[in-house]
Symmetry: D2
Subunit: 353 residues, 4 copies
């Protein structure tokens, strides 16, 4: 058992991985459960899922590798695309920079922090950083910039626009950098009305990215895409070396096949965004304004310590940070599984205060 406190409260709106799988995904697993299949992703489900993803990305030659979790995928993909003397540029608030227990550094790689604007890295800051780096006569004694880590959406729910991503690609090309996108919550980005970055855009503009499953309707799993084949020779061996290869790879193939059939991945995203809009509207009516302007499924609000305590007791939302004035920033997250009654429950708690 991990952790010391016994958790008994059922969490609501606290994050997007509190339930198991979307029912349709679960049914696909059930239907194939007793079929024998070869291991390690060599089965036909993985091939079919990869084919659907290639089609969705309009990248017919892309390599698709299925992995179990996000931290694993980030550390593995970055290790695989970086050269030994390179590190990865990331927003100082990026997930790999803070919340992955140094998994990137554990593989010997340095995370090079860039300032974040609304959780985002800008092309200008990448250019500036690289220009300073190469202007420094002693840069052979420093970690070279090798890649830019982005997440779509970001840690605070914001989105890169197509224009921003295109500019980042230009900046990356100017300095020989790869672009890697962490798409843990990609379904929720793709479903936003505000979003103009499609899967084919990602495949065209990035060197590697992953399509998140764990937080977007799968029981577990992430699909790592290398749009250009041969990006990482012997990736399978590196994957095994990281302890990241699932014996029953078919479980990932079955799930991603279903997610990319009949637009399920799109549907999952749209439901969460619809619920996020309802939540925002309901909170607005109660006089709450978002602490961060997030168009996706993560919403940030500032509440009093008393309200925070009440929410905590009910298992609603999650702690984000303490504000300077003693207030508490709380995060509410919607997902494919969010029901309106949870929003109603939240509002009733907030009314109590």
């Amino acid at each position: 058992m991990k952790g010391t406190k016994k958790q008994v409260i059922r969490p609501i709106l606290s994050t997007d991985y509190t339930e198991g799988a979307h029912p349709a995904v679960f049914r696909a697993l059930a239907a194939t459960n007793l079929e024998p299949a070869p291991g390690y992703g060599t089965d036909h489900y993985c091939e079919e899922a990869a084919q659907l993803i290639r089609r969705a990305c309009r990248a017919p030659k892309a390599e698709v590798h299925f992995l179990v979790g996000g931290t694993q995928t980030n550390a593995l993909a970055l290790d695989a695309v970086l050269k030994p003397y390179e590190g990865v540029l990331s927003a100082v608030s990026g997930h790999i920079a803070i919340h992955e227990a140094g998994a990137v550094e554990f593989t010997g790689r340095k995370v090079l922090a860039l300032p974040a604007v609304n959780g985002k890295v800008t092309a200008a800051s990448v250019m500036d950083w690289c220009q300073s780096f190469y202007a420094d006569e002693t840069h052979d004694h420093m970690v070279f910039p090798g890649a830019v880590y982005l997440s779509q959406p970001t840690e605070c729910g914001t989105l890169y626009s197509l224009e921003e991503l295109t500019e980042l690609r230009a900046a990356a090309d100017a300095y020989g950098l790869r672009i890697y996108v962490d798409g843990a919550r990609l379904a929720y980005a793709l479903a936003c009305p505000e979003n103009d970055v499609t899967l084919p855009d990602l495949a065209r503009l990035c060197d590697a990215f992953y399509i998140g499953g764990t937080k977007c309707g799968a029981l577990f799993g992430e699909a790592l895409v290398f749009p250009k084949p041969g990006t990482v020779p012997h990736f399978i061996t590196i994957e095994k070396q990281h302890g990241a290869m699932l014996a029953k790879g078919r479980l990932l193939g079955v799930q991603f096949k279903r997610l990319f059939q009949r637009d399920l991945y799109g549907e999952i995203g749209r439901h969460a965004i619809e619920m996020a809009h309802k939540l925002k509207d309901a909170l607005a009516q109660e006089g709450y304004t978002p602490a961060v302007s997030s168009p996706t499924n993560q919403l940030f609000y500032t509440v009093s310590p008393e309200t925070y305590k009440r929410l905590q007791e009910e298992g609603i939302g999650g702690f984000w940070s303490f504000e300077a004035d003693g207030q508490v920033r709380v995060r509410f997250v919607t997902s494919w599984s969010t029901r309106e009654e949870s929003i109603t429950r939240l509002i009733s708690i907030l009314k109590e205060k």
Copy 2:
């Protein structure tokens, strides 16, 4: 997609992870699929599963951590129990020594090879190795022995007896070593009539071991047990650092809870062993004698290249190694999911020759 060859044959008797989960385990996942639960193993299912495992091990204070796969668990557990200047002793044929793509070395640790007798390490060889090590005046310039890696059953299906394990404990104590047991196929060891090592014995004699789920009826998952609490401070952070923490830890809790309820883990093991006996008997009638005397669910036979080709076409069994005389050593594996018809099919192929 991984690998270059398209696999379409349904594998039979080739390994014990060709199907999904045992139906009872799958039902448990289905029944809890839409329940919200907190993440990272802090849910009540993990706690209940850990409690059942502690009871089965008669180790009321044991720490139990649930992980996804075997290579991951081996590399993580060894990294966690070794000191920086230590390596791990393993049979030269041990899984970590050969088949995990150097995952142990990837974390900076050396695997120190010991001779294997029937796939097993002996207490005498551990004692000899350590004695030579400390007798060498320059041993400060060498990797210290820190742990012994065993697997139960071993790579070739053999079993450590309680006497052997007790002797290994004494050898380990004589030189301050930890004992770690890889129990990827532990259910099949525990179910053998020949076996006299119980879960409480493992908990009493080892510093860490894992109870395999992936190959023993779970959809996926392994339960790592530290019989003595506090064996590894801040294990959770180290787990995260390895990219080994599952966001929806509850999936592992639900599965192991079910595996340890109503003796399901025992039942799974017994079915496979019964099937293995039937397979051995049927093969004996055809004049085949096992290449290795294995009492568990992995059986090794030597066949002609032509027969091997036929088996390969039908997806039956798996390649193990080439013999000096051009014959092929093949492995047949039974599991919770093995049906008699598969054995019948195998025999009919062998009759063809």
Copy 3:
């Protein structure tokens, strides 16, 4: 051959490791050159040098290990004192954070950046960082703070006062951190009139620190001090593992023995500081004010691009950074080997403009 440009200019005032060894140190090497001695630091010179250092530090039980270079010593010492789940707090401008090519990360450790005030870390910022860390409910998923990296003097030549170091010790104790001090230029700190931190203070307040030789009169070498014996079990093996053990350890013993005999280390420091004062005075007469108020042997001035070009041609001083307004920040460094004629030469160049 390293680098692409052929260097022919003799560098002046550019750094403190442009010459070989202080003549007295060199003579000690010459006098003992043909004496046979056992290897790896087990010789009597190392023991005598360690004894002199223990005495100078008033730390009779201190462990002293002699190493070759600074980056090596930093990466090794931090790896040795950190636990697997810990990283090291460092000023964002710290040497390990920027100028060591990620040597700390290469060993799997994260450098956790703190804001720098005059190149220094404050006790308050350490306290704040740690408080935020432990207040975050998800901190088990983050790199724990394990040590604070300081350098005395800092990257920009400033000094920690005894009061500041004492406060840092209290902050470290409050959060279970070790303090490690990089003393690459320690002789020049110790010799400053402004300095009130002595070797016994370092031994009393730090868990590990190194007394720089390479930049302070030795041919090469650093003396790593663990004031408390047993701080790092089997350090020798970890040192070897890092490739950091010198076969002819006696070379380091001979040098540090001489540096700590008859106050040579003090004399070396005082000469450099005297020269630094002369340089400052001469530059002040030419109307230059230091860009950073540094009391030690590194002096920073802002010059026009034309002046910088002239200096570069003559090999005087070294590039530090470009200023926003196009001016160039240049660093001048004095050492045990600095002669007044170099200062005269510098001033004549500056007059030319």
Copy 4:
């Protein structure tokens, strides 16, 4: 102070790094001690030394990097030439496999053990290993062979012939392996009448090798040669990352320049081999036959425990291993500094028995 036992005896014939530098090398250091030079190997001495080495190797485009010690050079060079999914084949008795505290594994690389014949790897065993590897259908789950580690001379003083090295090159080419040669004692190999492998042969047949300085007349230092330029992009940064870059690189340049002027490296080797012959002859007269047939400067003899004790008291020779029958294998080593009186002293001790 390293180690626990105080060593006071002056070691004789025990190894080839008991003294400082060859007087001519030391004089070169003395003559240049006060010359200012730029750091990190960008000085003209390094360039001149590299030029002399290129000429001696008849490899006009070779890259030459100067490093401090052998373990450091081995771990760095192998890390630099291996791809992430590769390990290094080495004789099971190779220095990197046993006596370097796992420095290769510390960088994440696996040492793949090959049987040793007279301390040597054979082309046949490399071919067999690789053939088995690629014949194994699961080899994607194993560490790929990436390089072969050899040492010239080997751990037990034997030599690869030109024919053997040529065959190893063919085997390496057949499987895409690099060849790396550890030349810690290369001077003594080159000076042997039995030797037919020259520096140009090494440059022609190997991908990387180092010319040992520490044990061959230098105060310290090794010259790593990449015969083909561009073998390792950004080697300098990788070197820094390993903590292996010497600030005062000029010290290595000055030494290697002298070693390769006026055939000093050859002279050093020849003196040691002449002394080895005298030692062998004297021991033969006393009835001792070598335990290993070594043509170089390391000689192995078996003595009684009593004799070993006497030798130990006098600091003559060094322990190698215990024999099964209780006898002790002792190693005697000659070098550039060996004097005949040491041999006389050894013989007088042996006569005592």
